[in-house]
């Protein structure tokens, strides 16, 4: 059986080396929470922690990126949840380190399990949408410091928040580059992806490249530097 504490240590080691994340979780320690509460903080052991984490991650995605006038997380389920957690988070956040990924799954599981243990409410998966929003708001505001569980909730909550946002706006499911192509044409997407919602043009295709080249072919250039600059 995987040693939970070791998994959490490895998760912290890997994730806090990811410069981007240090920004938002500096000082947090899931291991410290484990040392205070022991394994009960993660609820009853489940046979397949990844399946449970998919459930939580999917619910989290639906909360963070709802369907409104544009598509949201639910539009692309279940593939986006499987890709987001099983591939993107695993490879990009925990760098393919299985032990660290196991620690992150424990943190995600704790995010679901902790509310009843601190008498905050039902488990995350059993909450209404409004209660989930209230719970996440409080996690982000650091409201669980006095309950002693803020650190592990920050790990689970912040990584899921970044994970779903970045997965959705990677142009899922049309995001993978063709590694041998000179051009990366973006095909028309139905339904609209994150890129479309942002009206991001994406890479230049062969035709557009020709148009840009024609537009810029005769552009005049002013040689040298700006000699009106008295500092140089």
């Amino acid at each position: 059986m995987t040693n939970i504490r070791e998994s959490l240590i490895q998760m912290e080691r890997v994730l806090t080396r990811r410069a981007f994340f240090v920004n938002v979780i500096k000082g947090a320690s899931a291991v410290a929470v484990y040392d205070r509460f022991g394994p009960k903080i993660f609820g009853d052991p489940v046979e397949d922690p990844l399946s449970r984490a998919y459930e939580i991650f999917g619910a989290f995605g639906r909360l963070v990126i709802p369907v409104d006038q544009d598509p949201g997380w639910a539009t692309f389920e279940p593939e986006i949840t499987e890709y987001g957690l099983g591939t993107y988070v695993r490879q990009v956040f925990t760098l393919g380190n299985d032990l660290a990924f196991g620690g992150l799954l424990q943190a995600i599981n704790a995010f679901n399990e902790i509310p009843p243990q601190i008498d905050f409410g039902p488990k995350f998966l059993e909450m209404s949408l409004a209660a989930r929003a209230d719970y996440l708001t409080k996690v982000l505001a650091g409201a669980f410091e006095y309950d002693g569980v803020q650190d592990i909730l920050s790990f689970g909550g912040v990584f899921m928040l970044l994970g779903v946002k970045q997965t959705f706006f990677l142009n899922f499911p049309h995001h993978l580059a063709n590694p041998d192509a000179e051009f990366q044409d973006v095909l028309g997407n139905t339904p609209r992806t994150g890129w479309d919602i942002m009206r991001f043009k994406g890479p230049v295709g062969a035709d557009e490249e020709e148009r840009l080249r024609a537009r810029n072919a005769d552009s005049p250039e002013l040689p040298g530097v700006d000699w009106g600059n008295p500092f140089i």
Binding site: A19, V22, V64, L162, E182, M198, N216, E221
Partner: protein
């Protein structure tokens, strides 16, 4: 070990420094150029590129620094080094990168060509006593590099709208704004390479891989790419050659007259350490200078601010004090790094979720921004370890986790000044928010820098007047080992107030004149000064004939 060949000069590293020098000296002696990265020798037309180079844009791997991993610093086109910046969190390292491809930094940088400030040249002598490093000493070399690299400015009809408006409003506010020169000829503004600092897919960037390296090869130089130099060979106090690894085999090449180490401000001291020189000169790897920078991302009304794709750097200015003096901070306006790709922009407003978050993301096209560099932090760092196991320390944040005072105050002044300009342009939201209370703003800036790193490393094998405070003399020759030269950003005696590419090439141009005239026996007619005189005479003759 197999095969020994002998050349007059061996250059280790074909980037801005070594690549530029190669083009200037190859006609005057036999030359071997070694680079750890790949070279694509196809004919490359500026703005069009070649099929192989086009594919670089999708085959890049930046590399991640993992101290526990055997794969450590092996990004596909980069060496990746850990840089420890935060004294309050000694276990946290940023991943710093130096390019590993022929062309080096000149193939990667965003094409911004900034001259150092006049005051920088005075600072060289003040710092190490180095002689002959005045502005006038380098002027012909800047101009030579600018001719070769096709340095130019774009007319305003090719600027993006945010740049034009920023210029107008900043000038109205009394902030002197200048045109930013670039060395990207016939750029089609595809937005591709600017997303991650990758080499230009269309070869519009006039790197040494397109300019000086082909010239060197044409003049008989041998270029070996994917050749990682393991050490400089030294015998009886003189550099005699190098040992390098290529295709799994180890080779030694001999140098009759000179070995030039041009592996970058981090790679050069590490290679000298691997060669044992740090036992001769304790200044190797010391005095690391770098430029910590912070972006500001704003939301403007409307949705047509970022040109077609990504960002353009058209203008820059120094952050100005109320008394009209320029601080040591430079603003590249209308950059907007965080706005360039949706998945990076997705982290904007991290605490938002639900419909409010989607509303922000729908405003993506209204984003603009600037990048602010602090050019003269009041600290220096250190490069130690080895090429395979480097340790870079640049402790810009104190034990409180907050940046050293000068860096912090000048970056915050920059954020506030830039935000004033954008607010006048109609911006209604900024990140970081320069109106936040000082403690919050200070923490945000400190966290960004200690987790994102500091760019433009310099000074790790600096030039000086005495071996007690420097690694090389004014001509870049090692104080301690004969026939050994360093030629890249590592030799800059004190930090400069600009992106360093132009300074590296000017330094390299001057060093090339020294090599040609003092080591390879060429006449004075090959120097930059003679070149300028010839050009002036040619122009005068043309004028007379018209």
């Amino acid at each position: 070990m197999s095969m020994v060949e002998t050349y007059d000069v061996i250059i280790c590293g074909a980037g801005s420094g070594g690549g530029f020098m190669a083009g200037e000296i190859a006609a005057h002696g036999s030359l071997l150029i070694l680079d750890a990265g790949p070279y694509f020798p196809e004919e490359a037309a500026p703005g069009i590129g070649s099929p192989q180079r086009r594919k670089l844009a999708t085959q890049m791997n930046l590399g991640t620094w993992l101290p526990d991993s055997n794969e450590s610093n092996h990004g596909r086109l980069f060496f990746t080094y850990p840089m420890y910046m935060d004294q309050s969190n000694p276990f946290s390292a940023t991943a710093q990168r130096e390019p590993r491809l022929v062309g080096g930094g000149s193939a990667i940088n965003v094409g911004a060509w900034l001259r150092p400030r006049v005051v920088d040249f005075d600072g060289f002598e003040e710092e190490t006593g180095v002689q002959g490093w005045g502005k006038s000493d380098f002027e012909p070399h800047f101009r030579r590099a600018e001719r070769i690299l096709h340095v130019h400015r774009d007319p305003r009809e090719y600027w993006n709208k945010a740049s034009i408006l920023y210029e107008q409003i900043a000038l109205d506010m009394g902030i002197p704004v200048f045109e930013e020169a670039s060395n990207r000829h016939r750029c089609i503004l595809c937005g591709h390479r600017l997303n991650a600092g990758m080499p230009c897919k269309y070869d519009s960037l006039m790197s040494t891989a397109l300019t000086q390296i082909p010239k060197a090869i044409q003049n008989g130089a041998t270029l070996l790419d994917n050749a990682k130099v393991l050490r400089v060979e030294i015998s009886n106090g003189t550099a005699t050659g190098v040992t390098y690894e290529r295709n799994g085999e180890t080779f030694t090449a001999n140098a009759r007259k000179l070995v030039v180490v041009s592996a970058g401000a981090m790679g050069t001291p590490l290679l000298l350490r691997d060669s044992g020189l740090h036992s001769l000169n304790s200044n190797i790897g010391q005095y690391l200078r770098a430029h910590p920078g912070v972006p500001i991302d704003v939301l403007l009304p409307g949705d047509d601010w970022n040109s077609d794709r990504g960002y353009q750097w058209n203008i820059y200015h120094h952050v100005m004090e109320e008394n009209g003096e320029a601080l040591d901070s430079v603003v590249h306006a209308s950059a907007g790094f965080p706005a360039t790709t949706p998945w990076v922009a997705a982290a904007f407003k991290i605490g938002l979720f639900g419909r409010p978050y989607k509303d922000v993301m729908r405003k993506f096209r209204g984003r603009a921004g600037a990048f602010i560099f602090e050019m003269k932090p009041a600290i220096h760092g250190r490069v130690s370890g080895s090429v395979d196991y480097p340790v870079i320390s640049y402790p810009i944040a104190t034990t409180t986790g907050v940046l050293e005072p000068k860096t912090l105050s000048e970056l915050v002044a920059g954020l506030r000044q830039v935000w004033e300009v954008y607010r006048e342009m109609g911006a209604y939201s900024a990140f970081p928010n320069a109106d936040d209370p000082a403690p919050i703003l200070h923490q945000q800036v400190s966290l960004f820098i200690t987790t994102s790193g500091a760019l433009h490393p310099q000074g790790t094998c600096r030039a000086g007047s005495d071996p007690s405070n420097s690694v090389v003399d004014a001509n870049l020759m090692s104080w301690d080992v004969g026939n050994l030269m360093c030629c890249d950003a590592s030799v800059v005696p004190n930090h400069i107030s600009a992106n360093p590419n132009s300074m590296i090439m000017a330094v390299s141009s001057r060093a090339a004149d020294f090599v040609n005239t003092q080591i390879l026996g060429a006449g004075p007619e090959v120097t930059a000064e003679a070149e300028e005189a010839a050009l002036a005479a040619e122009a005068a003759q043309e004028g007379a004939s018209q």
